[in-house]
Amino acid sequence: MTTQLFGAPIRRKEDPRLVTGGGRYLDDLGHDALAAAFVRSPHAHARIVDVDASDAVDVEGVVGIYVHDDLPGRVGEPLPLLIPHPTLTHGRTGYALARDEVNHVGEPVVMVVATDRYVAEDACQRIRVSYEPLPVVVGIEAARDGDLLVHDDVPGNVAAHMLQEVGDVAAAMAAAPRTLTLELDIERSACTPMEGKGVYARWDHERGELRMYSSTQTSTGVRAAVAAKLDLPLAKVECIAPDVGGGFGVKIMHPWPEEVLVPWAARLLDRPVKWVEDRREHFIGSAHERGQLQTVTVGFDDEGRVLALDVKFWHDNGAYTPYGIIVPIITSTQLLGPYKPGAYRCEFWSLYTNTVLVTPYRGAGRPQGCFAMERTMDAIADELGLDRTEVRSRNFILPSEMPYDHGLLFQDGRPLKYDSGDFPASLAKLKDLVGWDDFADYRARAEAAGRKVGLGIGCYVEGTGVGPYEGGHIQIETSGRVNVATGLTSQGQGHETVFAQIVAEELGVRMEDVHVTTGDTRRMPYAVGTFASRAAVMSGSAIALAARNVRAKALRIAADALEVSPDDLEIVEGTVRVKGAPATSMSLGTVSVLSNPLRYAFDDAAKAATQFAGTFDPDKPPVADDEEPGLEGRDFYSPTQATFANGMHAAVVETDPVTAEIRILRYCVIHDCGTMINPMIVEGQVHGGVAQGVGGALYERMAYDESGQLLNASFMDFLMPYASEVPTIETDHLETPSPLNPLGIKGAGEAGCIPVSAVIASAIEDAEGFPITRMPISPNDLWELRRRHAAGEVPSLHRLSSTSSKEPTA
């Protein structure tokens, strides 16, 4: 290769289009469509008594008003439970429109279709729904008490109860020289992509075909779900994800009620229909995540080695469980991070509450698991008076122990087996980057100036690139243009760039000749979706395999034409040439011409492939027996297990001694996602993840009141951090290749957000000298903790800090 493309920090191909307003998002489509709007439940738990739409039907421009009774067949049946699990004994899903009961504020009850959204909302305002309020369950403690029930037929509000144990925890705990118990609490947050959900559907009456667009992370999933709901052959449904303005998990959940109802209405009315979610709807009508209460008991020796780890946690799954219990399963398995406890037991209860349902949000249960493990590591260090990094080191899985099988089942139903990683090397790099060993001096100087500063750390391992599979299809046109398709969708990650880098490198073509399409079921009908940091690993590997197939075919055809052996050929910048004799060559475009014998000439390139061009051996068939026409190739990648990326973060925070305002002074990241396709994009992913992590650590919570009203359902009161709240992020990388895929890569999408709450809690604890057990934390929260600490209600750390030069003042 003349130019190294794989591994180079190439600028994103999609950015000039996206940053100059050239993106086409869901709401840029279908200007002729009717608009749907929804009457949503104002109650967290109630029986629907009556719906009176008499004042709305006369609103000029209203085309249809629908309640559950109007929904025929499968459209009116409960939405699917996408990921069943044996322990999900009481899985429940809602209806596209609530049937007789609502279980959270925001649940859709009535759909109005009108000439535009303004009219639809006018009509919604005139529809009167009578409710009989029912007792409301809000918060994990209320759900756990089980006095009041979300679903009458789910005792104790327990959707699932799961237990995994490796080794004999009871015995190991009893034998441990020391034990500690921690009570931890993580609040809810949400993905809050810039673009909410949206659906646009067109029905082709003549052909009986549906074309729908959805702002989704899985167009193949939506297509299959909608075909099933509307009782249509799969071949009669197309689903396209246009440009999508962020997903972060909420759009992998499907089908959303609107994804069923909008296509249904389009078919019923035989007119295009569109629905674009507004911000308030997104807060109350999509999904949240993160809420857990945790109890961790750890047994350890005097060196800080964990002999037994016993975790119980209670997971808030909201009103329904359409996405199963993926989130708590991930928490329970990924909690272990880079460590190898002597014995491990994890038991969780996934609980219903009368709140918005819970589905994966970037990190997907890992931030909670990391919080539990890392708070435990800090507590052990404090108990023993050891440096916090030393305790971690003593519990690390070592490179020589890879692959390391934890003996647990991961979220994909396969063994939790780490493929590679060098945790001691990552930690050494982190300590170096943040200046861990020099911090005591820094703190002493800060304290002398009346400032309070603290240093925090957090480590994680992230299972990425879960199966079952993805595919890649590559076709080279006679112009030399390379068309690449993969079925999973893009929400701004930079897929057009990294997949092009892979193809350019594998094929030997220029980046600008490679054109990537994602998320279009017409181009690649077999796909799973974009989630679990899997796009690069799964589609990247599939595309690499497809590229190798195309390359082999190109070399076969060119070798035949140039009368040389394929082994003597190379492809450089789109030209197939003889190694060492580059004058003997032909362009890939010409190879494409040769690959597709034609009867008709429609341009000069095609002329060369027609029957009288005189270029073919009359004794051979135009297409060889073992070939197909066209210079194209397709392949799929389906791994036996996930790859495991890892990272370690450290932060320096300052807390105001009076106002308790919290400022992140430095944020350092060591990240290992195996071989990097494009380090600039990896860093961008890390930066975005850290920004969301900072939101979860210091700003974001879902403020439900006791009646189940979400008090902060707007960006004015839900405090997603601005750029001004996100610190400069210092990064360094380690590249430990994965042995599992052809490119040696691991996922990077979620990494940045996973340890942030743990890191910031660690740093604030270090600054303040008392334990931080609940995140997020606001200045008001910290100020209250200080008061309670001063009153003796919150204990001090044993050693005020392992890195402290002296006791911080209270």
């Binding site: 959204r117 305002q125 308030r280 106002t659 951090p721 709240e725 008001n780």
Partner: protein, 293 residues
């Protein structure tokens, strides 16, 4: 999140605006920068039948500096006032406060007079009008009148402006020579409504304080001015006496404010916060007073 139907009026003169306001009465709202009003309409928290859009009205977009005051027309955007060199020279407090009003994009559109007429307890500029002993110039069906700030603000989001009246300008009073000012606030995120904020003005004569005032954001229902003269008068900034006086100030502030708690901060926290912010603002104002003399 689409507004309910409304009639859009676009008068081109104050007289026409007042006439339309008189016709539509309580079913009308004035639209200037729209930075508070439009979200309220979109969320259907208000559904006025008429919007009287004054953006085409002539003669309302100037900033004038007189020996007594800085006069700001009803169509002057926050950003315009913030960047006015004349206004800054005459009354630095305006820019000191304005940079805290939301974000630049909002300041580019939102008007200072509009934010005063909106009378949000979390707004910076109502507090500044109070601290500068300002006046609102009002046009109505029966002519013009002037309303002192203390008669203008009646409650949270409530003023003495009648439905058929238009606030055409405000005048922020200038401070005597030797006065330094400071404004500071603490918000959960940069540019958010403050959990608490304070503007202070300290006048120093012959090296000692001869007057000190404070006014607050987000911790009082309506703007009000706390006279800190009794605590600080006669003290030399930076002296031991001054430091002791700051404790008296803190006591006075704690007694003066009436914060309410919400999901972002409790009443107790806000009280502590505004007290500390006042402590931190006063030395800065005093420094600037010294620099001026």
């Amino acid at each position: 999140m689409k507004p309910a139907p409304f009639v859009h009026h676009a008068p081109v003169s104050v007289e026409e605006a007042v006439s339309v306001l008189g016709e539509v009465g309580h079913d009308g709202k004035v639209l200037a920068g729209g930075q508070s009003l439009i979200p309220i309409l979109n969320m259907r928290l208000a559904s006025p039948g008429h919007l009287v859009d004054i953006n085409r009205v002539t003669g309302l977009d100037s900033v004038e500096v007189t020996p007594e005051a800085v006069r700001v027309g009803a169509l002057v955007r926050h950003a315009g006032l913030e960047r006015s060199a004349e206004a800054y020279a005459a009354l630095p407090l305006l820019r000191q406060a304005l940079v805290n009003v939301a974000h630049p994009a909002i300041r580019n559109r939102g008007t200072t007079v509009g934010s005063i007429a909106h009378a949000d307890a979390a707004g910076e500029m109502p507090a500044i009008l109070a601290l500068t002993d300002g006046v609102v110039e009002v046009a109505g069906p029966s002519g013009s009148r002037e309303v002192a700030w203390s008669d203008f603000f009646l409650g949270a989001l409530e003023t003495s402006l009648a439905a058929e009246e238009l606030a055409v300008a405000v005048r922020f009073g200038r401070f005597p020579a030797g006065t330094g000012t400071a404004f500071t606030e603490a918000a959960r995120r940069h540019g958010d409504y403050a959990m608490a904020g304070v503007g202070v003005a300290v006048t120093v004569t012959d090296g000692v304080v001869s007057g000190a005032l404070a006014s607050f954001v987000s911790v009082t229902d309506v703007p009000s001015v706390l006279d800190l003269g009794p605590a600080l008068d006669g003290a030399e900034p930076g002296s031991g006496e001054w430091d002791a006086a700051l404790d008296t100030v803190a006591e006075a502030v704690r007694g003066h404010v009436e914060p309410e708690g919400d999901i972002h901060a409790s009443a107790d926290y806000r009280r502590m916060l505004v007290t500390e912010l006042t402590r931190r603002a006063l030395p800065r104002a005093a420094d600037r007073a010294g620099a001026d003399t």
